[in-house]
Subunit: 136 residues, 4 copies
């Protein structure tokens, strides 16, 4: 299952080198996984309303090719791993016009409750993520 | 009472025009008023822990002179108005080396509780802000 | 002429008050005017490639109603004033589901060349903006 | 050689989970390496003025412990690797009050000229970075 989110590079996302600033890719990865979960039927907002939060515990990105202001990009999101206590989303960012890879990376998330305590063993989010990433 | 906060323009705060992006001045105004309240003895975090929140209801900025990457800037913050239901912070941003004015503006804030309801009539934050802005 | 841009509030655009941070509205205003010009046939990127830049000289926003994570918003952009040396874009932000006004404001921009010098009298951008804002 | 930069978590750097947003750590890593080079005697701005740019080609972060609004943090920066065509900066972020590790990661940068071409073999930045990271 790979979910695609299309967006455009904003002026404020560029820096004085004339291309998109490296830190903003993390915002795009987040758009991608937010869209992924929403498309699967249950957004982060809904999970949070049930007391399940997914803070990032690890993030990684390789930058292959610069992105320009107002360029359209495709953010590809998939689930690459699910454990009892975590999920890893993989992301690729493509230049929308050429389909050339611009960047790739991942974010790993823990499952916690609203008090910050790890949710272990068979929480509903884990089951749902497994199901959705196999199914699609 | 005027409080000064010194900071530096970050690379990620510039845009492809080679200077600081206009939207980031709002983050600097916030640094200024956060520092102001902390210096006066009670930070926004403490007010929030007592159930008093200050969402922005109006923001304004005039941009006079561009700011460059790694330039040091001084953010000057004062309270220009306090009413029973709101406070207005005024901000000026100076080039630290020349003391030349780079931008000026203000943010107006409502006093609300954690449910979003307006706090009227003699709430403690109003009294405190009046006292602090006269005293200093 | 009013141009609409639809987007969604990102997780990273919220703050600890649980709603969209006030400074991010400036990024949305910019998305709006970028889209406006692109829709009119000539993007900021193209104007810049011809040596015409539009730095913000004034920005204003009134915040009427909070925006939540993953909420869809409509950014309405129009040109409210054009002079020989400046243009003012007006923006409204609506909750996409209810069409209720969430915020409104404007940004005023000078016309400058790549050296930062004001472009006066009959520059092509001025003519184009006048034409496009009447025409549409 | 380890360089320390102290800063505070801004309100706009938090998200609806009530703590600092994961993407903003990239901005802090950049503050750290900017400060490192400035402290070593030659800032990125000066290198860029001589036609040497350092785009990020890889970024990584492990998040250990959440950071709160207005908390002071220490960003520790060092050079962990220099090759003929790249440099890797390592970063640790500490809670300033407890010296507890909050996050750690790195960014790898290529050496390019203003046209985006890789600078190979004995460019001055490579020599300077080697010297500074041994010396200090």
């Amino acid at each position: 299952m790979k979910h695609l989110t299309r967006t455009r590079v904003r002026y404020g996302e560029t820096d004085k080198m004339g291309v998109a600033y490296y830190g903003r890719y993390m915002d795009w990865f987040e758009m991608g996984r937010s869209d992924f979960c929403r498309a699967m039927g249950k957004s982060f907002a809904l999970w949070e309303s049930e007391g399940v939060f997914l803070p990032v515990v690890e993030a990684h990105c390789r930058y292959k090719s610069s992105l320009l202001y107002e360029e359209e990009i495709d953010i590809e999101t998939s689930v690459s791993n699910v454990t009892k206590v975590s999920v890893t989303f993989s992301n690729k960012i493509f230049h929308a016009d050429t389909h050339k890879l611009a960047a790739e990376g991942y974010t790993k998330h823990a499952f916690i409750d609203s008090t910050g305590k790890l949710l272990r063993d068979g929480n509903k989010l884990e089951e749902w993520l497994r199901e959705k990433s196999i199914e699609n």
